[in-house]
């Protein structure tokens, strides 16, 4: 065994570490191998039982297999996404032009466009976000900051957790019964927005509550000790500090609401609308409904139109999320702890 005379590090007396072929101290497996080959001769060496070294070798193999498996799993998801993007892109991109975006739907594929669906989706998502954020954040603040852990709050909590698991079709039925019929909004933009707002409400409530819980209690106490009312504490300190987390919930909610077709078809989305909405009580269509309709037609051209509309829908999701992420990043920089 050669010992480097310049090496004065008293902790570095492992023979394997001084072996020039395995001088990577992080590679325990290689060091163990080296130590085993050299045998335990010198009393200055670290004494390791053979059973430990065999065991370590096995554990290292396990770790490598596991790392490979999770990498493979990640690649599978990426692969599926890649195939999807490639297929949609190759099919839809040739049809994606300015005319497609600015035309109303038509029975003739070459003249059909998504103007009414795009405007419908944008309007509905705007209103849904406003309704859901106002109701959702208020509920979260009530449950976290105001309600003590009484029976009513527990009952609400249980219900909200359950609501997040309800299928979207059921929300469609609810919207039809409540907003279309009882509130008499008709099969309108307003009824659709209310239905979607109800559907994403649990997402926003749960995310906002989590965010409020991460605000340190010491901030609330500091505010209270300065003579703040609970509302002033919440409005000036707790809620602003929780805002990045709240925005994460809003991003999830928008993505979910933008992609939903089923509840809106039940509420009464129609596919042929050759005018732009001027009032909230006008009838509506949205991109997912239009895509669903086109994708169900036998003609090849309409399939391609559906692909083109999907590209627009994905673009819309990315833009809205981009705006929310931009705001969140600004807020995070502002209230760094």
């Amino acid at each position: 065994m050669t010992k480097d005379p310049t090496n004065n590090d008293p902790t570095n007396n492992d023979p394997a570490n001084n072996d020039p072929t395995s001088n990577d101290p992080t590679n325990i497996y290689a060091n163990g191998q080296a130590a085993r080959e050299e045998g335990f001769t010198s009393s200055r060496e670290i004494h390791l039982e053979a059973s430990f070294l065999d065991n370590l070798a096995r554990r290292r193999v396990q770790a490598k297999v596991f790392a490979l498996a999770i990498q493979l799993a990640t690649c599978m998801a990426l692969l599926a996404l890649g195939i999807l993007v490639w297929r949609i892109g190759s099919q839809g991109l040739p049809y994606l032009n300015w005319n497609f975006i600015t035309s109303f739907p038509s029975r003739k594929a070459e003249r059909a466009g998504i103007l009414s669906a795009l405007v419908g989706s944008a309007t509905i998502i705007f209103m849904t976000t406003i309704f859901a954020v106002i109701l959702g954040v208020s509920t979260a603040v009530y449950l976290e900051e105001i309600a003590s852990k009484n029976k009513f709050a527990k009952f609400l909590e249980l219900n909200i957790a359950n609501l997040s698991g309800v299928p979207s079709l059921v929300y469609g039925m609810l919207g039809l019964a409540v907003f279309v019929r009882i509130f008499d909004f008709g099969r309108s933009l307003l009824a659709a927005s209310c239905t979607l707002a109800l559907m994403v409400l649990p997402i926003i409530i749960i995310a906002s509550r989590e965010a409020l819980r991460t605000v340190p209690p010491s901030t609330r106490l500091a505010a209270a000790a300065l003579g703040a009312t609970p509302w002033q504490t919440t409005y000036h300190h707790t809620l602003p500090a929780a805002m990045p987390g709240v925005l994460t919930g809003i991003i999830l909610a928008i993505s979910r609401a933008l992609g939903e077709a089923a509840p809106l078809i039940i509420v009464g989305g129609v596919t042929y609308i050759a005018f732009l909405p001027t009032r909230l009580t006008d009838s509506f269509t949205t991109l997912p409904i239009q895509i669903f309709n086109w994708a169900g037609r036998p003609q090849e051209e309409f399939q391609s139109l559906a692909a083109a509309a999907i590209i627009v829908l994905v673009g819309l999701v990315l833009v809205t999320n981009g705006i929310a992420i931009f705001i969140r990043t600004k807020l995070e920089n502002k209230n760094r702890w």
Binding site: K149, P216, S218, T219, T229, N335, W337
Partner: protein, 248 residues
């Protein structure tokens, strides 16, 4: 008397924390509350400005607390009124995650302060011996300061409210010795204007900064007197044992 507790019994749920305790604190004095961990001194302190209202299981079993003429726990009294007059500094520095300027001005502003805010910031920071260190960065975050500076910022924040009493719950326990010394100097300077009640585990600190000392054990007030009497000639055997370090 500025603060007077009478026959006070406090509990968290079924656990009695403070037993039949009476204590009165005069104007412009520093009073130290000493005693081993869990003896109820922090609970007692937080009761004076109703900060225990935030602990759901807290109960006031019997007795009352008066701040000057005001029955602090009367139904007619708004806790905000009490806290506006009785400020608090916490064990761990807890500045708001916003600018130094806003840390000072927020409390006065929400309570209807009409005067010059910049002047208020300057005078409060000067009184908290922090002005020279931060005068060029009033708009940077209070969290960017060192631990000791943060605690002085919290004291400045409490001073800015122009309170009558300042409660301090182990204000130096999270700080290094140099920062502790600065806070102690500060407390000594401030005692001419405010009544201060300080919970401390550090008996040398109690003897350095306080005029009066109360020794608590298992929720009871064992002895209360001038600091020199408590430390030099304690009347109770228990007090003497605690001060000599025989237990606790």
């Amino acid at each position: 008397m500025v603060i007077a507790a009478k026959n006070l019994t406090l509990a968290y749920g079924k656990n009695i924390i403070v037993k039949n305790l009476s204590l009165a604190v005069g104007p412009t004095t520093v009073t130290a509350l000493i005693g081993p961990s869990g003896c109820g001194k922090s609970t007692l302190l937080r009761t004076f400005n109703r900060m225990n209202d935030f602990v759901p299981s807290f109960r006031m079993v019997s007795g009352n607390i008066h701040y000057r003429d005001l029955d602090v726990y009367s139904n007619q009294v708004d806790p905000v009124f009490v806290r506006r007059r009785i400020g608090m500094v916490f064990q761990k520095p807890n500045p708001f995650p916003s600018s130094i300027h806003k840390n000072i001005t927020w409390g006065p502003r929400i309570n209807g302060f009409q005067g010059d805010l910049d002047h208020l910031v300057e005078s409060s920071l000067k009184r908290a011996a922090l002005w020279d260190e931060v005068k060029d960065k009033l708009n940077s975050s209070g969290l960017a300061l060192s631990g000791g500076q943060q605690q002085r910022l919290c004291i400045a924040r409490a001073i800015a409210m122009d309170p009558d009493v300042i409660l301090m719950d182990e204000p130096c326990s999270a700080l290094d010795p140099a920062s502790t010394a600065r806070i102690e100097d500060l407390i000594t300077e401030l005692k001419d204007r405010f009544s201060m009640l300080i919970v401390t585990h550090n008996m040398q600190q109690a003897s350095r900064i306080s005029q009066n000392t109360a020794f608590m054990l298992n929720g009871e007030l064992v002895e209360y007197g001038t600091t020199s009497q408590i430390f030099n000639a304690p009347a109770q055997r228990l007090t003497e044992d605690y001060i000599m370090g025989r237990f606790g």
